[in-house]
């Protein structure tokens, strides 16, 4: 068994017990970005620092991906095993809205404004047998 690792470094804190999303903040104008950027989309400044965006927020909008995407989509799934997934923007504490896969994948389970929390999922396994990880959000409260 080889240790699991992020599919892409720097999107979330890892390894750690409770991972948080990592973005950047502009030291000139204060605006946040995700993923980390070297220059600011708001003021064009280049004075950026890493920012902990936390692991919780509210659902700002959503949809459901009902068919398996073509490449560059690259998971362990096949046409036969594909499971629809939710996609949404999560409004984080700093106000930034982060686009994410959602565990919930049916309209009945998704509502604008609902509290969401971060979780880490496996995208696929690499040639060495390591699980490659990414982030997604799921409902913060059990739904009845």
């Amino acid at each position: 068994m080889v240790a699991a690792k992020p599919l892409h470094e720097g999107l979330f804190s890892w390894p750690t017990e409770i991972p948080n999303l990592i973005g950047s903040q502009c030291l000139d104008c204060g605006e946040y970005a995700f993923p980390k950027q070297n220059s600011c989309r708001a003021c064009s400044g280049q004075n950026m620092t890493s920012a902990d965006l936390g692991n919780a927020g509210n659902l700002w909008t959503w949809t459901v991906q009902s068919f398996m995407p073509k490449t560059p989509y690259h998971t362990h799934e096949t046409q036969e095993t594909f499971t629809p997934y939710g996609v949404g923007y999560i409004e984080m504490a700093c106000g930034l809205k982060v686009e994410s896969r959602l565990r919930e994948n049916s309209p009945e389970l998704l509502k604008i404004g609902m509290p969401m929390k971060l979780e880490i999922i496996t995208v696929r396994t690499d040639d060495e047998g390591s699980d490659l990880l990414t982030f997604q959000f799921c409902a913060a409260e059990e739904q009845s």
Binding site: H8, T61, T63, Y85, K97, V98, E99, P107
Partner: protein
């Protein structure tokens, strides 16, 4: 120097298995030149675009190696808008007297599959399944419906209108009107948008011949004047496709800024427009673009659609040829199809779909990833 459109040419959108994209572009160009009563040798410049069918300037191999300036334009779905804008500037500045604007494409079936690296994004974004335009369209209208009380019925009404108008348009790809039930019960693609609420990538070509307004009558008895051609990209905070994150504050879209500038330059307002084309890559886009272009207030679309304001028989007919929904979207040509249709309406040549309000001023709006809008105001 004012600018006139004197030639309209189209190779019908849809599927043309025996022709390459380039050949469809050449067919459209020949049709436009014929409509203007001129030939390719007379063209002093050309602007052209194609996303998936090669370099537009390869058209000279089919149309003639005449030595003209031929510039390729690539602005996603807004390519046609940007090409016409460039031609407008070329004549407006006095550099040239007459030229060709052409767009064509031949896309594979199914949704586009863009590469993250082409859009300044890392591979994880595509590999984990976030790089789909369909998702963005679903999420944008989902939030818009929540903010402005738009119902699913309004989504259905837009699709119904598109296919009804397509059924009146001989060059349209989808020429069969669909019932409310057929649209409502179609397979879901990206909540809340289903199969009949999206346009599909397609094939086709479209071309326009443009010239100095003072020589226009030598070429065509009914020149259409291009009053303004404006293209804008997104401002910080605009909610756009392929965005891993969005700033807290939602800013006006590039459609709002392009539209306001176009009306300002033309010295008229939305109430002066008689017929319009608004980008409808899906039904939500047409709904949002009605307000973003200044034609109604946000939320007012619910009533406008219910009252038939944007029908061919209404006060402001929108997408009279069925728009992208009924014609499909060959990216390079799509923005020019809009101009082609509005010019056709202003000439009174719309046949079964001709609007009845004796239109004098028309409007086109194209929108493309990652947040570009092109607006043209046309008058006869």
């Amino acid at each position: 120097m004012d600018v006139a459109i004197i030639g309209l040419g189209m190779h019908p959108f849809g599927r043309s298995p025996s022709m390459s994209g380039l050949e469809q572009g050449a067919a459209a160009a020949r049709a436009a030149l014929k409509d203007a009563g001129t030939d390719f040798k007379r063209m002093e410049f050309a602007f052209g675009g194609s996303q998936d069918s090669g370099n537009a300037d390869s058209l000279v191999n089919l149309l003639g190696l005449t030595g003209l300036q031929f510039t390729n334009v690539a602005n996603g779905c807004a390519t046609g808008g940007s090409s016409l804008n460039a031609a407008y500037s070329a004549i407006k500045s006095g550099q040239y007297d007459i030229g060709l604007v052409v767009g064509f494409d031949k896309h594979d079936r199914g949704a586009f599959n863009p590469k993250p690296s082409d859009w300044g994004l890392d591979d994880w974004y595509g590999e984990t399944g976030l790089m789909l335009t369909t998702q963005y369209f679903g999420m944008k209208i989902q939030r818009y419906m929540y903010d402005h009380n738009i119902s699913k019925s309004t989504l259905i009404r837009v699709a119904e209108k598109a296919f009804r108008n397509g059924s009146l348009t001989p060059t349209a790809w989808r020429q069969t009107a669909l019932s409310w039930e057929e649209i409502e019960n179609a397979p879901m693609v990206s909540e809340p948008l289903n199969k009949y609420m999206f346009c599909s990538p397609a094939e086709g070509g479209c071309a326009l011949v443009v010239c100095r307004a003072d020589i226009a009558h030598k070429f065509h008895t009914q020149p259409i004047y291009l009053k303004t051609a404006v293209v804008r990209s997104r401002n910080y905070g605009s909610f756009e496709v392929f965005s891993p994150s969005q700033p807290p504050k939602v800013a006006d879209s590039p459609t709002v800024t392009a539209s306001q500038t176009a009306f300002e330059l033309a010295g008229i307002g939305p109430e002066d427009i008689d017929v319009a084309q608004l980008q409808d890559t899906e039904v939500g886009a047409e709904i949002m673009h009605m307000a973003e272009n200044g034609f109604c207030e946000h939320g007012e679309q619910e009533k406008w659609l219910a009252d038939g304001v944007t029908e061919i028989t209404g006060r402001l007919p929108v997408n009279t040829d069925g728009g992208c929904l009924a014609n499909g979207e060959p990216v390079g040509a799509s923005g020019l199809r809009q101009v082609h249709e509005v010019c056709t309406q202003l000439r009174g040549d719309g046949g079964a779909r001709q609007v009845a309000n004796d239109p004098k001023v028309g409007y086109t709006h194209v929108y493309g990833a990652p947040g570009i809008s092109g607006v043209n105001i046309l008058a006869r």
